[in-house]
Symmetry: C2
Subunit: 467 residues, 2 copies
């Protein structure tokens, strides 16, 4: 098996190079983390562009043909590097945009001033985007850099796509994929935006929940009213909104939208058995965030609730006076941001429609509802028999010394659905983040071990896919 | 009746002086309106002090012994002017603090840059506090100034108390009244913080709803969570809060707190008859703010709902991500500001207790509630046979040429209860504001006619009480 020997002899120096380069790799990541590329807030549009430019320059320095591609929103980074004749072609995807940082007061270290500190599991890197997704995407970039340095080339043909709108519903992604389908199509997509099973067990996510994001605003009176004059007679849109949102779940924790559970599969017994073998601890999972009891559907395990069951969550609500002190106002409007996590064949468009009907059916006299769409994507399930899945599983085991867990993910990565639908590509979801990384929360962190062994994992996976 | 003749001969020059001085009176009020004395926001504490100092200086200029009295919060203004030997002694009360101005974007004219403009009913003054309560309190100050200018004295002994915390629950008022009881005790209190019946009909408010203000925060997880990882398993405090708030009213619009209706009287038939005679138009009242249907208790008229029935209103709610775009977060907490309007003998302390029990009884596992008190006061009902009520009723008719309506008020003026309880004083609630003055809302205004004829009304009332 000459190919295998070739890979092994090439790989070790690459791994050694990654060990030797770790401090420089951290420096490079920190430079990227200092750019506050918050995609949901238009005030940071310039920073998003700056992050895209920085990545493009870095990929060029490695030897990629890289460019910034404008979109209607934040730009894409698109880069190519040819591999040996006949080598497989992979498309690596990551996103350089990050979540907002409020409440800022809760950050112990400023979100865009990254820092390396001692943590419970060794050193960790602090900063918004350190885990989601800048730290993760740089694991692949660093692996490519090391290959290039050691061997003068890459073992695979590699296309890289970095998006800047993942945290705001990816409005430009689909048109971009359609417009650049020929340039983006590869044999397989690699996505690094997911978690390990635990701090020592690598994981590949073979299932991802879908997502529907909706914003609803209830309007009542034509202006804010004094509750002394009008209280008791005037419709209060906060009351209307709270009654509607309270109705979204029944007493068993099930979602009450019409047809919500259409297309929701029961988890197959063999998958259940695999999950049971993971040694998941509900007590630890919930205890880590100060909770003790799963709050969702009463007849489901916690792992099912977060991996295999659809949900409805109110992610934000606002109405009336919310500042210091008190104001006896009946506001003219109140609004909420609501998201639905989808599984199986639930149809995002139908769920959105059912939610809107659910709201409008419950509106009392003098009230109207205004809706605003915040993205939607169906759930994804990978084929367990994919050969590349087996190769990657083995490569991860080589790096971490433990069997790779095939798990589901509660979150959504809409691009995976689009890769399948628009480009006919499967995606391998391999990531090194942890559930306690506090992504989307204050004090986001990424373990140095995730970053370091993550790079080496990608080097091994590239070699394995090339073999 | 020499006294009556004396009053009449004194009064006309005072009224003439008020006509002659109207432009200067508007200038003085505008100077006060330019001070952004928002009491609920600590950032404006200096402005509250500035408003108190300006008023003190103005009262001194008239001839009052006036001083700024510090409190634990914003200062009081306390002033005295002796009247003729044996004249009645009145305590005039107003408040110089104003409501917050958000949402600022909805103001057509900046809130603290007062302006005189043409309105539907003649000229009007625009600005935060123009109606509530700076414009109203200055009607009395201007009447006193004119009396002093024309006669060299006042017809009554007058004490003036201006508070700076009325819009934030009056935390310092009760201790201040207790500490200065001897200095504040008078025969009667006069309060100018209420409405006329309509633009041509003066009114005295003989009933005032009480108020209980509460803030509740529901805490769940120890930090904000990603709804992809935790959604379906982690308690969402917005869900908990909306379910609790939705439960506050039943389907008939009644409030569901235990014992909420204890001490709520039925409106007597003669009062109902008087109200029926006022020609109140539900269509106009609600139509003015874009509504058409009374939303409260189903078996009550609109006037009953706002004057004679207790309410529960959510005045503000916030939780999770409420900025631009979308954030799939399960927040660690969510909170609401809730107020109850009270009537009859409803006990503010019992209502607060019932609300807190209502919330804690409904808390699911892993959630806790934190409460913050924002003031409380019982409802007030004036004795219809009070002699000063008859004198004031007649004086108002002299100015406006129409019978004075004896009405109830949906709002709360806690000081009136404290005057009764702590100082044994009745209060005459006489004001010249209008329901469409947009107090507590953007674009607050005060009719120039309210201001001008309001001053003259106080001159007539002072003379009538002296006679």
């Amino acid at each position: 098996m000459p190919q295998r020997e070739f890979r092994m002899s090439t790989l070790q120096p690459v791994l050694d190079r990654l060990d030797a380069e770790i401090d420089n790799a951290v420096d490079r990541l920190f430079t990227l983390l200092r750019i506050p590329s918050i995609s949901t807030d238009p005030a940071y549009a310039g920073d998003c562009a700056r992050a895209a430019e920085w990545l493009t320059a870095d990929l060029r320095a490695i030897g990629f043909e890289a460019r910034v591609c404008p979109t209607a929103g934040h730009p894409m980074v698109l880069a190519h590097h040819a591999g040996p004749q006949g080598a497989p072609h992979v498309l690596f995807y990551g996103h350089y945009d990050v979540q907002p940082v409020d409440p800022l007061a809760l950050w112990e270290n400023p979100p865009f001033e990254p820092k390396l500190v001692e943590g419970e599991a060794g050193k960790r890197m602090l900063g918004r985007g350190s885990s989601d997704d800048k730290g993760q995407l740089m694991t692949f970039v660093e692996a490519a850099r090391a290959f290039k340095h050691v061997t003068g080339g890459l073992p695979l043909s590699v296309t890289i796509l970095f998006e800047g709108e993942e945290e705001s519903g990816s409005p430009s992604l689909k048109p971009f994929l359609e417009a650049h389908a020929g340039e983006l199509k590869a044999d397989l997509a690699l996505v690094c935006d997911t978690n390990m099973w635990d701090h020592s067990t690598p994981a590949i996510s073979t299932g991802l929940r879908g997502l529907v994001g909706e914003e609803v605003t209830i309007h009542a009176a034509s202006r804010d009213l004094h509750s002394g004059y009008y209280g008791g007679a005037a419709a209060n849109p906060i009351h209307v909104l709270t009654r509607i949102l309270a109705d979204l779940h029944d007493d068993s924790g099930a979602v009450t939208l019409d047809g919500f559970y259409d297309g929701v599969p029961e988890t197959p017994d063999e998958i259940r058995a695999m999950w049971d073998g993971l040694g998941f601890s509900e007590v630890e999972f919930l205890g880590a965030v100060g909770l003790s009891v799963p709050s969702g559907e009463k007849d489901r395990t916690t792992l099912e609730q977060v991996w295999a069951r659809p949900t409805a969550e109110v992610n934000g609500i606002t109405g009336g006076y919310t500042g210091e002190g008190f104001k006896t106002v009946i506001p003219a409007k109140a609004s909420a941001k609501v998201s639905f996590r989808l599984v199986g064949d639930q149809d995002p468009a139908l769920i959105r429609k059912a939610f809107r009907r659910f709201v409008t059916d419950r509106l009392p006299a003098d009230c109207r509802a205004e809706f605003h769409e915040h993205g939607g994507s169906p759930a994804i399930h990978l084929d367990y028999t994919l050969p590349e899945l087996k190769k990657a599983t083995a490569a991860l085991k080589d790096e971490w010394g433990k069997d790779t867990a095939l798990i589901a993910m509660g979150g959504s990565i809409p691009v995976v659905g689009d890769f399948q639908k628009l480009l006919g590509m499967d995606s391998l979801l391999i990531g090194f983040a942890h559930a306690d990384d506090r992504i989307h929360s204050p004090n986001e962190k990424y373990e140095l071990a995730s970053f370091h062994k993550g790079m080496k994992s990608w080097a091994r996976i590239m070699a394995a896919l090339a073999a």
